[in-house]
Symmetry: C2
Subunit: 934 residues, 2 copies
């Protein structure tokens, strides 16, 4: 009990400790940079006004940051800054993906009224490295999960105590000072360390008596040398957070810094004490940098650690209608879903609470993360009823995500509104394997198709208007108007370059150059660009336009297509970024001129406007399945005149989000002979992505049809062959499945057959399919009942797919694009369809010659063929052979980047039946509920 | 110093105190209900699992709530509830406007893993009456603004101490227990009351010695009678939060409740003590109810207390282009703007960060709030350059909101994309009086026009498809298909009723009834419903459709209009809620049948689908001005064939949001003879809203033109008359202004003239206009320079308008709708235009007769007349007289609810010029910035 007066307190050297921490951080940053070349932590310091002490602290932070490889940017605002301007800066920094920590230097020095607490709450939680937001402080005070960041000085105090080996549990800690920045949070940290904590402050009566009781004293009160040695309990540990300048004539500056504790007397009594300077101060800066590095690491190098909460299904029997099932499930808020799968708030544009667009900046943030496994779902040659490919895509992801708890994203196409209100109904999957809310999925979604319609029709209007103006004006008048502002627009300059006219001043063009520049000389018979509406409007299949007297008899026969048939849709699906999309739009060929040269959207001066109209379409839309797993909905091109796959951008983002051990399941339209072939040869060629497995969807029903079963017609009851066991028909029909499997194997990718089981299917039938599929080269063939059972019904399938992706895969393309057009077509027809050969008909031959002359030989081929047979004849079922494919015409989607040979007539405008789906569709005025979609 | 052992502690009777508080609350609820008939506070209690103690507490809360008029709903979930299901319930309660407080009874009793802290954070801040969210706890712990709600037990403790008159400042309070619910928050409240606070807990060594030091002891540790009398400092005040059941054989239940303090020994030492039961417990419940009532009061009865932070302008000279100005300003996040003006988070559907739709439910929440002042901005008869009506609308609101700091919302029309890419450019105002981001305003906005296009074209396709199917099928075949599901759809049942066929079973119709039901017998020559695109596409002005062989030669001549000319746009603008919109859609007349009867969208079975396609369009879109004041953008019907005003719904919501002392500024298209007249006679008639003032925009330039100045042509320089002082021309032209003022006065509404000043205008010219305007009956005439100066430039105008709305106003309509159609037309032409009379031409007479026969006499009149003159002749400037207005045709928008007589040809499809605006439009692929819009 007697005190050894000779023993002096241990000096807790914060400077040394901070220097060690900084050295460790420097090594860590260097190591991360070696692994992730673009890893560069950045701290943004926001300062309002010109307080000298703030300036000193900021300089210290900048210097320390630079030393260890953390970029520190100093945003110094004048003291006239308004709260709106300060807010705008913070929001900009929140949104800046290169900034990982934001601190606002307090106190603010401003002549305007600015709410400091509200300002600190503006900093996004992920970047609040000072930990001062109400939410972070609240988490600190609550017993429960810890905040991501602690305030730095308190964190430094705790680190010193830890290093000193001070026991805290059960000890009495007295904190002098109750500031937001030090006193309060350090008290909370001491409490978390199980100390008994007393908080004293300016209003405390008899401060000395409280301090006297303390095993640990933390001084953070801002009064120079307030606490004397004789206030302390002998052996107390003293942490001094004060930094107070006092006059000192012996110093050059006329002052020196002291703490809140009288150091000289205290060190005689305490067992350990931090000096000032050189104690807590340096630790504060080191802790800040530690938090910034931690934040940057989370930002750049986070593994795909999802925290997904699946939604439970309540299965009902009999299975209700799609919209009843979908309406009975409450989706998660999409903002929650996004955060569960690691999308940052500023990477999301919400569209209400159930849909959100994901910004492309996420690709940059995650570029070092390895891609997940890439699964394409394709189908056998279908009956007109469809074999459940979309439903299987959704069901498989529900199984992988909600049942097997693997990271998985489904990538789906956006459906056209035409069929939704026409015959087909919605396209969000079916039964307990659906995208929800299904009415959002099937209606406007986030407006992409509408934007495509607007852009497509602006280009179409521009073509006819330009022909009209060229027909009614002289070269000079035309030129005068085109360069009305006496300046070429950017697009006009590009056109001049393409024409070989190397001039930028409109006054310097020769007459010939003026004529060449001003006249596109479009040959009306060669126009391939049609207007579009997203409505099934059969009366627009062939129309005559320009019949108003204002158009002076310049009538023309043309047509409307449905919007999703627009080349702009194919461009959206194949584009890899905004710059690429712009270039594709410039390249769009709308017609030939009278000399046979291609006329482009760039020539019409409209490609920039197309890009502006479609600027938001490049962002995929995030939705969810019935079981709360993520879905990207993006693009939906036709599968005959286009490639019928959802977007490359959605797949790319999804592959990063799911991470190395995750899965992306994307669907290819029509049968595998079309959808899968185009997925590989067009989409993967453009994206450079390597598929990991094919899931091939088959049904007993379709295989029996291929074996010679009776015709299957929508709306009519199925023949009895389809409702009873019939192994003979099935066995014959398996030839169709076998050829699809063989085809997939030609690309070097493992195949899993998914048998979409119906209630009438027998075990013997299933066993037969399985046997034949494996014999043909499939790695597995598995039944699935996701329509009735949700993800649980596709668990076995999901396990088979998860196993298949671990097998060696050597992806290869089917043909070299530099081969002649005819040869590429022939390769597809022989290798994929089983044809003996092709016959190029005269129109096709003429077009091939034209495209070759125009320089478009090296585009991949997008076959426009029926999906109801391997051949061009929908009646040839099974695996036909001995046929020759007639190539009637060849067209070009130069912007999208493919040629599409036509093997028959392709309808690009569906019609409405006598009783369209819309008869049942209604809106409840009270609840807003939509009924009648299916 | 000696203690009086005879003195016993004062018993702090919580039961009595709680009873008084509840009585006060009951009176308060009753008083609020008297004032606001639908005021009904509701607390939702969420319980997971079946803990008996929780059940007891919940029963107490329900009983106490019922007693004072607070509805308490108990949401009792099973212990198998998943975290997703619990989250879904909380989110539903967050969104439920009838619920004002939500508490989750803790501890949760669940077999599933549920994160309690995360669950509490799901409750919206406005309903977190337990104050347990991290944000509320953080605010409680920080020195700064207080949280809206405190945890209830701590709040009760403080209320008892307050009532007992206990001094806290400088005293030593010892809190025993550190729970989130009591210990921690009560410590924070004591600290806020300036006590020195020690927090003890289970790990505290020598608890007794700490308690012994306390002037105030708060016990919240959950250990029966832990703290004994001899632990206390004599005279201490003891607050006992413990409620512990201990065995007691003398009780029927076998147990009794005791606190954490040994009451009998403690009351001998303490100066005051709370009993258990009857101490803190009843206060806890009372405090909870107090918070619920407070929350409900905020919800229902909040006055329009805005907390708007204006954006500062940085004015540059010369004034840069519109898009340069707009791009230089950083808008507030629209979620922040919404919260500043009192829109709740669940009343908002975000569309990215700059636009949001506002839900109609807000009208119900605010229905007791008095409306603000309703200002319409109209213009004199304009030159073809426009006189700055939109810019004045925006500038005036910037002045009222950002300069005068009054509550104000501008209500604007959404522009069509056609003109944006055609000749006119954008429509977001101009200069420093604009809506931002202007490219969002001018492009897709939130998709309303696209939804209208989709709905319009579905109806159009339905007409032609129906005629085709009727032409190619027998009655029976048609009927068989129309009732394919052997059941009439809802819309078919309505059609049957309209036909007078009172049957619901399809099998029971007679042959005649089948024919009448199945055949619409549309007379193709009477079809008035056109297809639309939102593109300037002149070649669609007159077209022939149905030329494909699939349509079997059923060709028809028709036209496309621009989308904003669709009747659906006028319906959106005039509708008052979703039910009303649906009814209007059912009433849309698309043609007459061969018997001259109207054929409606209901007859085609498509009106439900139209409502579904347009379900989101009813919500106005919130944006902001350059100075950060709120703007609603909603609907944009034509001003000739429709009424040219933005929506009733936006105005109604805005009038509630700004509150009694606020302003809503809405714009009427074209000159006041058209826009203002229709605003009053059509829009105000439909809405029942009473306008407070008219702001009439005039320019020196236009008035000189009306005085006989040279023609003003877009694109050509102005003649010198317009650049030099010319009082003579101006004086003559003032006749136009005078007649508009007189017209406005006929409606009984005060008029303020806004002179939109240009740099060449002289003081003498301004003075002349002012003199003439006031002489004609205007209450004031004021110059404004908002284009160059933003809101500051319209300060004087804003002051004049703010004064004008305080004047007596007796709004009256110009005509009674029940008068004959001809008489209504004549009234408008004589009273508004100054005509001698009208001449009904034969086609018009025929149509008037038809509409009268069809029952459409009582619709208001929407004149389709040139906006360039008071008369039908654009060349008659000034205030012409002595003319007769020819009525060439009359058409009906029965869904929208008006008849529109045509005085001339109205173009409903603009064209593209040789060099359309789109030449300059481009997207920066790197930054996403849009250039070239203006």
């Amino acid at each position: 009990l007697s005190r050894d007066t000779c023993r002096m307190a241990t000096v807790l050297d914060g400077k040394q400790q901070a220097s060690e921490i900084r050295a460790d951080l420097k090594a860590k940053v260097a190591a991360l940079q070696a692994q992730h070349p673009h890893f560069k932590p950045q701290l943004a310091i926001v300062q309002v006004g010109g307080r000298e002490d703030s300036a000193v602290y900021i300089r210290m932070k900048i210097r320390a940051g630079e030393e260890i490889g953390v970029k520190v940017t100093h945003h110094h605002l004048p003291n006239t800054t308004t709260s709106a301007e300060l807010r705008a800066l913070i929001e900009r920094l929140n949104d800046d993906a290169t900034v990982h920590g934001i601190i606002v230097q307090v106190p603010l020095d401003s002549v305007e009224p600015i709410d400091e607490a509200a300002t600190l709450n503006l900093i996004s939680q992920a970047k609040d490295v000072d930990g001062f937001s109400s939410e972070h402080i609240g988490d600190l005070c609550k017993r429960g999960p810890l905040p991501a960041f602690y305030p730095c000085t308190p964190k430094g105090c705790m680190r010193i105590l830890e290093k000193a080996g001070t026991q805290l549990a059960g000890k009495h800690a007295v904190v002098v000072g109750r500031s937001n920045i030090v006193g309060q949070p350090v008290a909370q940290l001491l409490l978390r360390a199980n100390a008994t904590v007393t908080i004293c402050h300016s209003r405390t009566a008899d401060l000395k008596s409280h301090v006297k009781m303390a095993d640990i004293v933390v001084a953070a009160v801002g009064v120079p040398e307030l606490i004397k040695g004789d206030w302390l309990k002998p052996g107390a540990v003293v942490i001094d957070c004060g930094i107070n300048p006092i006059p000192d004539a012996t110093k050059k500056s006329g002052q020196r810094l002291v703490g809140d504790v009288e150091y000289d007397s205290a060190k005689e009594v305490a067992s350990a004490i931090t000096p000032v300077p050189g104690g807590v101060g340096p630790l504060t800066v080191a802790m800040l940098l530690e938090s910034v590095v931690q934040s940057a690491e989370t930002f750049y190098c986070s593994s795909a650690d999802w925290n997904l909460t699946p939604l439970k299904l309540k299965l009902e029997r009999p299975v209700p209608s799609d919209i009843e099932i979908a309406s009975a499930q409450t989706p998660k808020k999409v903002s929650l879903l996004a955060s569960e799968i690691g999308i940052l708030p500023n990477e999301l544009d919400l569209y209400g609470t159930d849909k959100a667009k994901v910004k492309l900046s996420i690709l940059n943030r995650l570029k070092n993360r390895p891609d997940g496994k890439y699964i394409v779902v394709a189908g056998i040659t279908p009956t007109p009823l469809g074999e459940g490919k979309s439903t299987t895509t959704v069901g498989l992801t529900q199984a992988l995500g909600a049942v097997l708890r693997r990271n998985v994203i489904a990538c789906l196409r956006q459906p056209s509104q035409g069929p939704t209100f026409g015959i087909k109904g919605g396209a969000a999957g079916g039964g307990y394997a659906q995208v929800i809310p299904m009415e959002e999925f099937n209606l406007h979604l986030t407006g992409d198709i509408h934007a495509i319609t607007a852009a497509n029709n602006l280009l179409a209007a521009a073509i006819d208007a330009r022909m009209f103006h060229e027909a009614t004006q002289t070269d000079q008048a035309l030129y005068g108007r085109l360069v009305a502002k006496n300046k070429f627009s950017e697009l006009q300059l590009k056109r001049l370059q393409n024409l070989g006219i190397d001039k930028t001043d409109p006054a310097t063009l020769t007459e010939d150059e003026i004529a060449r520049f001003s006249r596109l000389n479009i040959d009306p018979d060669t126009i391939t660009w049609q207007r579009v509406v997203d409505t099934n409007d059969r009366f627009l299949r062939k129309i005559t336009i320009g019949q108003s007297p204002t158009e002076k008899d310049k009538t023309r026969v043309t047509q409307f297509d449905i919007s999703v048939a627009s080349e702009l849709m194919a461009i959206l699906a194949l584009t890899t970024d905004v710059a690429d999309m712009k270039e594709r739009m410039e390249r769009i060929v709308v017609a030939s001129d009278k000399d046979g040269k291609p006329v482009t959207a760039l020539d019409l001066g409209v490609s920039g406007a197309l890009a502006v109209l479609m600027k938001d379409t490049v962002m995929p839309t995030l939705m969810q399945t019935m079981e709360g797993t993520p879905v990207f909905v993006h693009a939906g091109p036709f599968a005959n005149i286009a490639h019928g796959n959802s977007s490359i951008l959605a797949d790319k983002i999804a592959l990063k989000l799911v991470g190395e051990d995750g899965f992306v399941v994307t669907e290819a339209g029509f049968g595998a002979d079309i959808g899968m072939e185009k997925f590989f040869n067009i989409k993967c060629r453009a994206s450079g992505l390597k598929p990991s497995a094919v899931t091939l969807v088959a049904t007993v029903r379709a295989l029996k049809m291929h074996g010679g079963g009776p015709t299957v017609t929508p709306g009519l009851p199925l023949a009895k062959e389809y409702k009873e066991e019939n192994l003979e028909l099935l066995g014959k029909g398996c030839s169709n499945l076998e050829r699809h499997i063989t085809n997939a194997c030609k690309f070097g990718v493992p195949v899993v057959v998914a048998i979409n089981r119906f209630s009438d299917d027998t075990d013997a039938e299933i066993a037969l399919i399985r046997e034949r599929a494996i014999a043909a080269g499939a790695v597995d063939a598995v039944c699935a009942s996701h329509w009735a059972d949700g993800g649980a019904g596709a668990k076995e399938l999901a396990e088979a797919v998860a196993k298949a992706v671990t097998l060696p895969s050597e992806f290869k393309l089917l043909y070299d694009v530099q081969k002649p057009i005819e040869e590429k077509i022939e390769t597809i027809c022989k290798e994929m369809y089983g044809a003996d050969g092709i016959e190029i008909l005269p129109l096709a031959a003429e077009k091939i010659a034209r495209y070759r002359a125009q320089g478009f030989n090296d585009l991949p081929i997008c076959m426009a063929k029926t999906h109801l047979s391997f051949s061009h004849d929908p009646l040839l079922k099974g695996a036909p052979s001995g046929f020759t494919v007639p190539i009637r015409d060849v067209r070009a989607s130069v912007g999208a980047g493919f040629l599409y040979p036509l093997c028959g007539t392709m309808s690009t405008m569906p019609g409405l039946p006598t009783r369209p789906c819309f008869y049942d569709v209604d809106l409840d005025a009270e609840t807003g509920a939509v009924s009648g979609l299916f």
